[in-house]
């Protein structure tokens, strides 16, 4: 049974990865199973082709290379047969390849020559101080990436407000008018819509950071929108205009 442990593990990975996807398991679970599932066909293919006849680093390289080849080439084949490359297709492809590889390897081993994975320990067990040092190195790089992520998260960017007035579909009767607040704080605005220079509508808006406001006013020639930040109504903060010169003061 010990001889076939790798086959049992890869088969279990294939089944569990599909089950986890079907049950909507958390990403922490699907990530581990998914990575294992991506590697499994490459490992099995490596076992079928070489058994344990190649040395450790070379074996890792070949297995990894084969694991990367499988989705590239089999994905092309799936697509050529008209299957869309969504999650179900990838899961089916990789789990199917894994189970077929398991079966082929099982038959091969019963027949004799192929041997299961065995990693040679050339230098014996690593001394404890070195294990501690390597562990410390891993902890430090995790902290480094964490520090970089925190730095990116707290990086200050100037805030901004979006104003848009678009009419991308020329057959539509309405235009798209919208305001988006990305100032980093709640903002109070006054939005003025003008048609041919005359005020057609006015809105007072209070938008939280990240909030947007949208309307679909009737589309006609010469419409413009002016956005003010309250209480300053002297100069528009943003302005947009379609079919006419909407520049402030004009």
């Amino acid at each position: 049974m010990k001889r076939q442990a790798d086959l049992a593990i890869t088969a279990a990975v294939a089944v569990l990865a599909c089950a986890a996807a079907a049950l909507g398991a958390p990403v922490a679970v699907t990530a581990v199973l998914g990575i294992a599932l991506l590697v499994a066909p490459g490992y099995l293919l490596g076992q079928l082709l070489f058994g344990s006849r190649i040395a450790d680093l070379e074996r890792v390289a070949v297995v990894t290379g084969l694991a990367l080849c499988v989705p590239i080439l089999a994905g092309l084949l799936l697509y050529a047969f008209g299957l869309p490359l969504h999650r179900a297709a990838w899961l089916g492809l990789l789990a199917g390849a894994t189970l077929i590889g398991d079966l082929a390897l099982l038959l091969r081993r019963r027949g004799g020559p192929a041997t299961p994975l065995s990693w040679h320990r050339a230098a014996g067990r690593l001394p404890v101080p070195h294990v501690v040092a390597f562990g410390a190195a891993v902890v430090i790089v995790v902290c480094a990436v964490g520090l970089a992520r925190v730095g990116a998260a707290i990086q200050h960017y100037p805030g901004f407000t979006q104003l848009w007035l678009a009419h991308p579909n020329e057959n539509a009767d309405t235009a798209d008018l919208g305001v988006g607040n990305h100032e980093g704080k709640t903002m109070r605005y006054r939005l003025v819509l003008k048609r041919n220079g005359r005020t057609a509508a006015t809105w007072n808006l209070t938008l939280a950071n990240g909030q947007t406001w949208q309307r679909s006013p009737a589309y006609s020639g010469g419409i413009a929108a002016y956005l003010y930040t309250l209480p300053d109504l002297a100069q528009p903060y943003r302005y947009v205009a379609i079919n006419g010169n909407g520049a402030p003061g004009s």
Partner: protein, 612 residues
């Protein structure tokens, strides 16, 4: 020749003048301590990056902190690989792995929450398309050729699909694994060619001095994934002739065929270089009467060439149109150069330190290669692969000539270095190991130090003159017409708005800094030849002739000089700007007839052109 039984290993001869063996077997610098040092280096670099983000991007101390972190990574590894202390095979592999992983993590720390580099954004867009549509070969406006070579996007979308990870995380895993795999395969190849894992380790160290090692060869771009397949094919070609058992031959032949196929559908240039490399190996083996290897190499070369040509004709016919202008421009420049004409590289705008490093590195490489050739002649002249490496390493001199004499030569030189450094690194390593060996044998320690300094100079040249460039060494606030630092929230939000409000694929005019954001997050079609729109005082009807629908105007173009030296992707005034663009040239769109001002976020304004 067996591994670690190299004539170039200086440990076998470290017997002192009285016939006693020197105690050199145990190093005082264990590999585990070097791993901690490299991790500390990554942490120090991350601290420098954080300082840059918090407002110190232009400060000298933040810059020095970055280089201190790099020294923590690079120096101990170089010292250990080139030192006179014994080094096991496992330690050598660990050292090159630590170097590769540490430098990769430095890249990750630069953009830890999402891709920001233009080429990465192009492939991110392609992966999004596959995930959303389930289709291959969809349109990519920024890099139209990339959907024809979907290998990277396939693996990444497969990993993202089955794990639930984001495309960014899945992409980092795929690119990181591919990069490390390429380094491992290179190590195995160098070890097999030289018969020494010490030489192999030093050769990988030398390869890591190429300017693209820590950037384009490890980023989320299609070449990163194609390179390990390239290496695996060479490894299979090396193994095949030596095997007697048919079973093993089938194994390596299968690896070769799959790796060739994966290379061909992943990256165009790598597949052509692979075919050419196999042809050269076949020819060399033929000349040196290595019939079996010649035959295997010829078969695989033919297979590579047929596969690459078949893919080019039937699946990726746009490849020639994509590569042709680049090739033609280079040939024209070279022709003018050899004819004594006018082509020349523009004067470098790099800091003096970078230029000194570059010149020093060229000098060191130029000296090392002949020493390496001499070693090849002395010890490896019956080894066809090493002889091929020695001959092909001459291409390094050609690349240097192009870099310093041809307009746009630095980009070509950089791209070519990924491949030219493979043979050059092996030859350099033979030279370096010989020089250090001589120093140890003759007890001339003063000779070993310059060798180490020279290697470190090569390493720091690769880092300083690679990517990111000096003007974006540290992440920080927005820069006009930059690269990663031109990708910020306002640009991303505006680009996403274009996709949701205007739909995909609209022909846009934009500046260099917003080009990648608009093409990726916005999924728009930004054109390159649009500088005239922004640099003339009046709006011209030429925009209509180009089929433009929208003009993206970043008001900051009139506030700062371009960080990269050019405001636009195709900029006739690149490197010549002495003051920012006139504000009036950007404001003219407000008064131009036939333009609608449809979006305004303060810095970014978008205009729509009336349909013709």
């Amino acid at each position: 020749m067996t591994v670690a039984d190299t004539p170039l290993s200086w440990h076998r001869a470290t017997t002192d003048t009285r016939g006693r063996h020197e105690a050199i077997t145990v190093s005082r610098l264990p590999v585990s301590v070097i791993a901690v040092s490299a991790a500390m280096g990554v942490l120090i670099v991350a601290a420098a990056y954080t300082a840059g983000r918090l407002g110190a991007a232009s400060s000298a101390w933040a810059d020095r902190t970055y280089w201190l972190g790099q020294a923590f990574i690079v120096v101990p590894i170089a010292v250990r690989l080139l030192g006179r202390r014994a080094l096991t095979s496992g330690e050598t592999v660990t050292l090159i792995t630590v170097l590769t992983v540490a430098e990769y993590l430095v890249i990750v720390c630069y953009s830890p929450t999402g891709f920001t580099f233009v080429d990465e954004l192009e492939h991110w867009r392609g992966t999004v398309d596959i995930l959303q549509t389930g289709k291959l070969f969809t349109v990519n406006y920024m890099l139209p050729i990339s959907p024809d070579y979907p290998g990277l996007e396939e693996v990444t979308s497969a990993l993202a699909s089955i794990t639930g990870l984001s495309i960014f995380t899945a992409g980092l895993i795929v690119a990181g694994v591919a990069h490390l795999l390429f380094v491992w395969v290179l190590y195995v190849l160098f070890r097999e060619f030289s018969g020494s894992y010490r030489v192999a380790g030093v050769a990988v160290l030398c390869y890591a001095t190429n300017v693209h090692f820590a950037s384009f060869d490890s980023m989320f771009v299609y070449q990163t994934l194609a390179l390990p397949f390239f290496g695996l094919t060479l490894l299979a070609t090396w193994r095949l002739p030596a095997l007697e058992a048919p079973g093993q031959r089938v194994g390596w032949l299968t690896v070769a065929v799959l790796a060739i196929a994966a290379t061909v559908v992943t990256h165009h240039v790598t597949s052509y270089v692979l075919a050419a490399t196999l042809f050269v190996i076949s020819l060399a083996e033929l000349l040196m009467r290595g019939w079996r290897t010649a035959a295997w190499a010829a078969v695989l070369a033919l297979l590579s060439a047929v596969a690459a040509a078949g893919w080019l004709v039937f699946a990726a016919p746009g490849t020639w149109a994509y590569l042709q202008p680049f090739a033609a421009g280079t040939l024209d420049s070279l022709r003018a150069f050899f004819a004594g004409g006018h082509a020349s590289a523009p004067p470098s705008a790099d800091p003096l330190g970078n230029q000194v490093l570059a010149a020093g590195a060229v000098l060191i490489m130029a000296v090392l290669l002949p020493v390496g050739w001499w070693q090849v002649w002395r010890r490896y002249r019956n080894q066809p692969w090493v002889v091929v490496a020695a001959i092909v390493s001459v291409s390094w001199y050609v690349i240097v000539a192009i870099r310093f004499t041809v307009a746009d030569g630095s980009e070509l030189a950089g791209r070519a270095s990924t491949f030219t450094y493979v043979p050059a690194a092996l030859i350099d390593a033979l030279a370096l190991v010989h020089l250090v060996g001589v120093a140890v044998h003759r007890r001339v320690r003063s000779m070993a130090v310059p060798v180490l300094v020279g290697v470190l100079m090569l390493m720091f040249d690769g880092l300083a003159n690679g990517w990111p460039p000096f003007w974006e060494r540290l992440p920080g606030p927005y820069q006009v017409a930059g690269s990663e630092r031109s990708v910020g929230p306002e640009e991303i939000v505006a680009a996403r708005w274009t996709l949701s409000a205007l739909g995909p694929g609209n022909r846009f005019a934009t500046d260099l800094g917003s080009f990648s954001v608009l093409g990726s997050y916005g999924y728009q079609n930004p054109l390159q030849d649009v500088a005239y729109l922004y640099t003339s005082p009046t709006f011209t009807a030429q925009a209509q002739a180009q089929g433009l629908r929208y003009i993206w105007v970043d008001q900051r173009l009139s506030q700062s000089l371009p960080a990269s030296g050019q405001y636009f992707t195709d900029d006739p005034n690149a490197g010549k700007y002495t003051r920012p663009l006139p504000e009036a040239d950007l404001q003219k769109f407000n008064q131009s007839a036939g333009l609608a001002r449809i979006y305004d976020s303060g810095n970014i304004v978008i205009y729509e052109l009336a349909e013709p």
